[in-house]
Symmetry: C2
Subunit: 230 residues, 2 copies
DNA sequence: CCACGGATGCGAGCAGTGCTCTCGTCCACG
DNA sequence: CGTGGACGAGAGCACTGCTCGCATCCGTGG
């Protein structure tokens, strides 16, 4: 990741790889993942399709690259929103992060679909994409951790032993002191956020909810209360 | 919908349409929506691809048919689970419905993706698919209505006027007496269920949650408490 | 400095796709 | 019984992902 390319060839390779991803990203934004074509990307860059295969072994590999980029982009947006609020104002931080998630998803619907929609058939989450994928989730989990430090606990009263063990990897990736109850609550809230945004971005709320902005705000406030945020 | 076919031609047409959908459904279950091929369906039925186009104008039309079927299938499963429990036992009804949703999704991942994953590019929700799509959601909304009748209110304390107006079409489709607060809560819980199942079925929980069954049960119990179910 | 090997781009080509068109055929209705 | 419309077959077009053999050019070891 931090390899400084040296030879002209390596520089050219890195630049062309980036150019391919750029072109692919703009195509993705226009026509969606299903219609993304390696040949079209090649045409856009003024080369022949087989040349692209020197950089991405397969169409799915290209898509995988876009998925990693999308996760990072989303993670950055959510992190920035969270970081823009005073750390002690938990409710405001939550609101900012949640709205950042929704705003990003609405302005990048196809990228969002890549992240949280139907999985790409040939996609296997590699190590680095996994950490990128967790960035947005992590913001929420850390929020729950901070809430718990502030003496606020929004989780269930009792957590079965099996579930305590089950969510251990999650809480440990944030803060070993994060209680199972808070972890369960945070994961449920995260699921609600992703679920809501998916339903909205994928058009499932179309005829039912008249004012999506007002409705999302109401849901976010409700979830903030569930998290017992100040 | 209730047209009794009469002439032999109409019968044959209805049968072949069903046969095409059957073959397409089995293909979908095996290779997923992206790889579903009209030609392969035609081969499977021993005819030529152009003949299939007499029945479905386009590949997306075929997929749309599958989407409608999937929504109905899922709706039926959730309705049956809910109906199998004494009406007064709200918590048990909720648990049954929620687990029916997850079980169906896990055993029909590609169909679930059709319903709640990335939307099919050429898909436009027609009137009948819309009503099919709402079946599972409606079960939960009615549950919230029954809870409210029983004097239980799990919604937010105050609902802004804009949001009250916004969710009016939803509550009216269930029971005009359903309060905005209960509607918001029900929609948030629905989003949490869909979000959780999507994350799980689409593989996003893979490395984090060790015991998906225990975790889903814990989340469902938490949501039941949020709904203030007995 | 130069020769060699590997990385790169190109073009042709294969197998497959969605979809269209034309052409016989066969059934239903007048 | 005749005719118009629905139907299935087949060829074909434009496109796709991907492979392969060929030149070319760059970086490195001698």
């Amino acid at each position: 990741m931090t390899d400084a390319p040296q030879t002209a060839r390596e520089v050219a390779r890195a630049e062309l790889t980036a150019a391919i991803l750029d072109s692919a990203r703009s195509q993705l934004a226009q026509v969606g993942p299903a219609a993304l074509s390696v040949r079209a990307v090649a045409r856009d860059l003024g080369m022949v399709s087989s040349a692209v295969y020197r950089y991405f072994a397969t169409r799915d590999a290209l898509l995988t690259g876009l998925i990693a980029e999308a996760h990072d982009d989303l993670g950055e947006a959510v992190e920035a929103a969270d970081a823009g609020v005073r750390r002690g104002d938990l409710r405001k931080r939550f609101r900012a992060a949640a709205h950042a998630l929704r705003d990003w998803a609405r302005s990048h619907p196809h990228e969002y679909a890549l992240c949280y929609g139907s999985p790409v058939p040939g996609y296997a989450g590699s190590a680095e994409t996994t950490t990128s994928a967790a960035r947005a989730t992590l913001v929420l989990l850390q929020l729950a951790g901070d809430a718990e430090l502030a003496g606020r606990r929004g989780g269930p009263a009792r957590v079965p032993a099996a579930e305590k063990a089950s969510v251990k990897p999650v809480s440990e990736s944030v803060d070993p002191a994060l209680s199972p109850a808070s972890t369960v609550r945070a994961l449920a809230v995260w699921a609600a956020l992703v679920g809501h945004v998916s339903l909205e971005v994928f058009g499932q709320l179309e005829g039912s909810v008249l004012d999506p902005d007002a409705h999302f705000a109401a849901v976010v406030d409700l979830l903030a209360a569930d998290l017992d945020l100040a």
